[in-house]
Symmetry: C2
Subunit: 239 residues, 2 copies
């Protein structure tokens, strides 16, 4: 963990319009400046939170990807959610309870950190912050509900299509996609562990998508070649 003394300037942050901290900063700048703030770098594979600890900070991802996961009693890993730049780590959890999952850096990662629970408690006094939190949480709940439908009822192809469409959406919202091309650091194991599939089967399914000319994938970059058909595959999931 590399903790810098010099904090980045929020006004220069390209994500300020989509982040929790940006919302707070806009709502009450002087109060925000008084917060206990850090800027941390984690290298890929580094564990950021370990399941069972009480979270001490809320992190906002500035760059890089991370993911929340559990290790099942069978030893297999289950990935609950991915974090991309702009996302908050630790927003949907009860800050007074032990974390129900671990969080690991998927790529090199830069995080803005804020001490809990002060940050939330103070922030909630501001309506715009409050709305932001409520919206994110109910968005996350809807996402989880969708995910349950997806993994419990649909075969591999729509699950994968759905994951890719969702990530595309999130990355585009944050200005991190160049048309239908974007960074995609997930391995096939990550995809499998997130969707309840084996890496072998993910491979076969991705192969099919490539053969059909629906997407191309390599060098940590994904390009959707035929959004029409990919959406078609994914949209059976929407209830």
């Amino acid at each position: 963990v590399d903790r810098n003394v010099t904090l980045p300037v929020c006004n220069d942050c390209t994500l300020q319009n989509v982040t929790l901290c940006g919302t707070y900063h806009t709502a009450a700048q002087t109060e925000f400046d008084a917060l206990d703030r850090t800027f941390d770098r984690f290298s890929a594979r580094r564990i950021i939170y370990r399941k069972g600890v009480r979270p001490s900070s809320l992190f906002v991802v500035q760059s890089g990807w991370a993911y929340a996961f559990r290790v099942l009693s069978s030893g297999r890993r289950h990935i609950i959610d991915f974090f991309v730049p702009g996302d908050s780590i630790g927003l949907h959890v009860d800050p007074t309870a032990p974390l129900p999952y671990s969080v690991q850096a998927l790529t090199d990662l830069a995080l803005c950190g804020f001490t809990l629970p002060n940050m939330i408690d103070q922030g909630l006094a501001h309506p715009s912050f409050c709305t932001f939190v409520r919206t994110r949480v109910s968005e996350y709940v809807r996402m989880l509900e969708n995910q349950i439908v997806c993994v419990s009822r649909y075969p591999a192809m729509p699950r994968i299509a759905c994951l890719i469409i969702n990530l595309r959406e999130r990355l585009r919202e944050r200005g991190l996609a160049d048309g239908d091309t974007f960074a995609f650091p997930l391995t096939q194991s990550h995809i499998g562990d997130a969707l309840g599939l084996t890496a072998a089967h993910v491979n076969r399914t991705l192969g099919e998508l490539r053969n059909e000319g629906i997407l191309s994938l390599g060098q940590g970059e994904l390009t959707i070649l035929d959004l029409e058909r990919l959406s078609e595959l994914a949209k059976s999931v929407e209830g």
Copy 2:
């Protein structure tokens, strides 16, 4: 829908210690009494909320069961959650957004209703109410995350064991279980639609549980005969 003029007296409510409204009532009785309150009865199978509408009331279940569901494009139903007495209907959703699911009465149902969003907005001024809401929501989030792991990684037996153990827990918290016997109005289709299984397969799996002497089930009542082994089957799920 049968809307009574005479409201039940909260002080007589056997669930007041576990409900959202009970918490509010305790925190601020006169303010609570000024709320716009209703008491509604729905007969079994009646639709309470239809997906896509903006919820106008928050309901607290006084007696009976309900469930939240979506209809998939294939025409199949997916059950997202069950509501038992003491649960709030409409607590985890964004009250300003259209509902992401429909809600249907599973048995005859009695609900205490409160107009939204006033009830939430006013209530949040009280710390105990606020804590209650936050705890319920993060509980629900944890439950959804568990459910994703459950349905995406485990075969039918642990899924069913897990569902039964969870319902047992919730009913016991509310004093609605007589030892390990409790009301169980779900049909095998309900179970299947909640767990991503077909009714036929649920039937075979329940048959196994019965043959093994782990539980008995009939007449809308379930008895856990061997909690030890049932927990064993379910606990592979805990991450």
